[in-house]
């Protein structure tokens, strides 16, 4: 008897609680959603406003009551091109592409080496890498300027390529090392039993696994190099200036024209946005280690 009376409440009880819990969870979800939207809009709004302004006439751009409805125009973009953004864009592309390629070329073997068989000294090496990032760039700009000047490389885009490579290499090695560490050790051991030389192991087995990580690293390098301003403004002039330098020159030579500046800034941001968009697919793929586990 005791058994039969105790069963009904047992079966009812588990059925009852989930409903309020689900409600509570969905209420929390709504709140989190609202917060996410607020944060997202706060981040996106300045960018949105910049793009919007770039399509305005100067008179519309500088009103005390901000205008949302106006007649869009491409005039500002034409203005930017006629101001000569072309060579600056080319310089930025050269500095970004070549420095990123160099970083990958040097960084991949370095990261492989420090992750393959870590010993005590590896930690020191890694710290040495990252320690170069601890010194503010301002502190080294004078000696760099003197050196670059003496070897006659001022206002030369390849100077920036070298500097950007050095600037991004430590971060890239650190990032890629963490991806290399994710590769199961058995794969490397299997490859060595199979008789694959190290470079083949790296190229045929390891790199395909961590290619999303390499992409992410490359994207970071591209963004940093594209947006770098301090070296560029100090070491270049008319010949080797990059887009950020152009933007600044824009302000001083033309006065404060909001619409045109917005158009220039939008154009400067566009390549990075496109690079991010292209890499996105590769990044979202994630690291697919499922196959070996």
């Amino acid at each position: 008897m005791a058994v039969t009376t105790s069963t009904p409440p047992d079966t009812q009880e588990p059925a009852a609680p989930p409903e309020p819990r689900r409600q509570k969870r969905s209420a929390a979800n709504v709140w989190l959603g609202v917060v996410a939207w607020i944060v997202g809009i706060a981040f996106f709004f300045p960018v949105f406003w910049m793009v919007l302004t770039s399509f305005k006439q100067e008179t519309d751009a500088y009103t005390t009551t901000p205008k949302i409805i106006f007649e869009p125009t491409l005039e500002q973009y034409e203005g930017v091109f006629s101001a000569g953004v072309g060579p600056y864009l080319v310089n930025s592309v050269i500095a970004t592409v070549f420095s990123t390629l160099l970083v990958l070329l040097l960084g991949i073997p370095a990261a492989f080496a420090v992750s393959l068989r870590p010993v005590k000294k590896t930690q020191d090496v890694l710290f040495f890498f990252i320690s170069t990032k601890m010194l503010p760039v301002v502190a080294v700009i004078v000696p760099i300027y003197v050196v670059v000047n003496q070897i006659g490389m001022l206002d030369n885009i390849w100077t920036l390529v070298v500097l950007y490579t050095g600037m991004n290499l430590p971060i890239a090695v650190w990032m890629m090392r963490s991806f290399f560490l994710e590769v199961p050790g058995e794969l490397l051991e299997q490859a060595s039993i199979d008789g694959a030389p190290l470079w083949r192991t790296l190229r045929e087995i390891v790199l395909p696994i961590i290619s999303p990580g390499i992409f992410a690293t490359a994207l970071i390098c591209v963004i940093f190099a594209w947006n770098e301003f301090f070296f560029a403004v100090n070491l270049t002039a008319a010949n080797a200036g990059t887009v950020p330098v152009f933007l600044v020159g824009f302000i001083t030579s033309e006065g404060l024209y909001w619409a045109q500046l917005s158009a220039a800034a939008t154009m400067a941001a566009l390549p990075v946005v496109i690079a991010g968009w292209v890499a996105q697919n590769k990044l979202v793929q994630g690291l697919s280690f499922g196959a070996v586990k």
């Binding site: 058995e186 060595s192 039993i193 199979d194 008789g195 694959a196 395909p208 697919s288 196959a291």
Partner: protein
């Protein structure tokens, strides 16, 4: 095909500390499947990795087909290994995975393809040759790893717990497949497992390791019937052998007030020891009527009954010594339940006797 010899082979991770593998002496006869078995930390995987060239040999030597391989890199040892997680190259297809070791050895494309095809047929992988490992089930991945080892036609197969990642049914099936294939190919094989059932069913010979030291190296029946020490006795067999520390009596030992006589040679070997470790396998108890005279049978109380259908295992504690537990095999559909009293008597001809201090078998 080759004989594999471990000759006093040692692996010492940190100088001064206990070696991971301590002066291992082991000979794998040509074409044999030898299983290294032991609990985790016993050094079985380390021993295998020493043979594979993935761990250095710090002392002693390892010989494959008479050749000392201490300074020979893995790829030149003519071995093939199957890892626990299969270590398939995720970016390569099944066919590419299997062909990779051949490609690295400079074999031409046609022969590669032919060997891969043969191995794939043998393992039932033909229709999966173009798939990536990601698109395979666990059992299929395991077979690809086997295939990659087979195509090499190496002198020795090394297998490091190749079945551990499979589900129970798949494991039993693959176990038989591996044993059958190894018999057919007659390639010397060293197989590492922590599962004593795998060891007993697959090995021509089994090496039991513990704490980096070889405990016993023998055929499965020999391990079961004459374990060399208490560790092997307790490790081989499921459920494990009952190992009881019992005081000596005039003609043998006493268990729960019952005199258990020991054979003449055993009691001679036991000498003046006042305590002995007695090993009794679950099937070596005889269930008696509970009315029997308590000077001839051991009384116990049942804690758990494991009913397996064809047989059952009774986990019980002694009636007059609750700290001593025993496992007794009974018939299937046994009528005993939790808390019931039982009476048991050990089969005197099937006793295993060990030194209570060292665990060594007597005599």
């Amino acid at each position: 095909m080759a004989e594999v010899v471990f000759d006093q082979a040692s692996r010492i991770y940190t100088p001064g500390a206990k070696p991971a593998v301590d002066r291992l002496d082991l000979t794998v006869a040509d074409g044999d499947l030898v299983v290294l078995v032991g609990p985790s930390g016993s050094g079985k995987s380390t021993a295998l990795r020493m043979l594979a060239g993935l761990e250095p040999i710090d002392a002693g030597s390892v010989r494959i087909d008479g050749r000392d391989v201490v300074d020979v890199p893995s790829k030149d040892r003519d071995i093939a290994m199957v890892f626990q997680n299969y270590a398939l190259y995720p970016s390569k297809t099944v066919a590419e995975n299997m062909a990779f070791p051949l490609k690295m050895r400079g074999m031409d494309k046609d022969e590669r393809a032919q060997r891969v095809r043969q191995a794939a047929e043998m393992l039932g992988l033909t229709e999966y040759l173009d798939r990536k490992p990601k698109a395979l089930s666990g059992g299929q991945r395991q077979r690809v790893a086997m295939g990659r080892a087979i195509v090499r036609e190496p002198q020795v197969f090394l297998m490091d717990e190749p079945l551990s990642n499979l589900d129970a049914k798949m494991r039993v099936q693959t176990r038989a497949q591996i044993a059958e294939m190894q018999n057919r190919l007659e390639v010397s094989t060293v197989y590492v497992t922590h599962d004593q059932v795998e060891a007993m069913t697959m090995g021509d010979k089994v090496a039991v390791l513990a704490n980096g030291q070889l405990q016993q190296y023998a055929t499965p029946p020999e391990l079961y019937d004459r374990p060399k020490n208490a560790f092997v006795a307790g490790f081989i067999g499921s459920p494990a052998m009952n190992l009881l520390d019992l005081p000596r009596s005039s003609s043998g030992v006493t268990l729960g007030g019952v005199e258990i006589p020991l054979p003449r040679d055993v009691s001679d070997a036991a000498g003046s020891r006042d305590k002995l470790t007695i090993g009794i396998r679950p099937e070596d108890w005889v269930l008696e009527s509970t009315d029997a005279d308590s000077s001839t049978v051991v009384k116990a109380v049942v804690d758990v009954v494991e009913e397996l259908g064809s047989e059952s295992y009774l986990y019980a504690h002694l009636a007059d010594d609750t700290s001593t537990s025993v496992v007794v095999r009974g018939p299937g559909r046994v009528k005993v339940r939790f808390g019931d009293p039982i009476a048991v008597r050990p089969n005197p001809d099937a006793l295993h006797v060990f030194d209570a201090e060292t665990g060594e078998r007597l005599p």
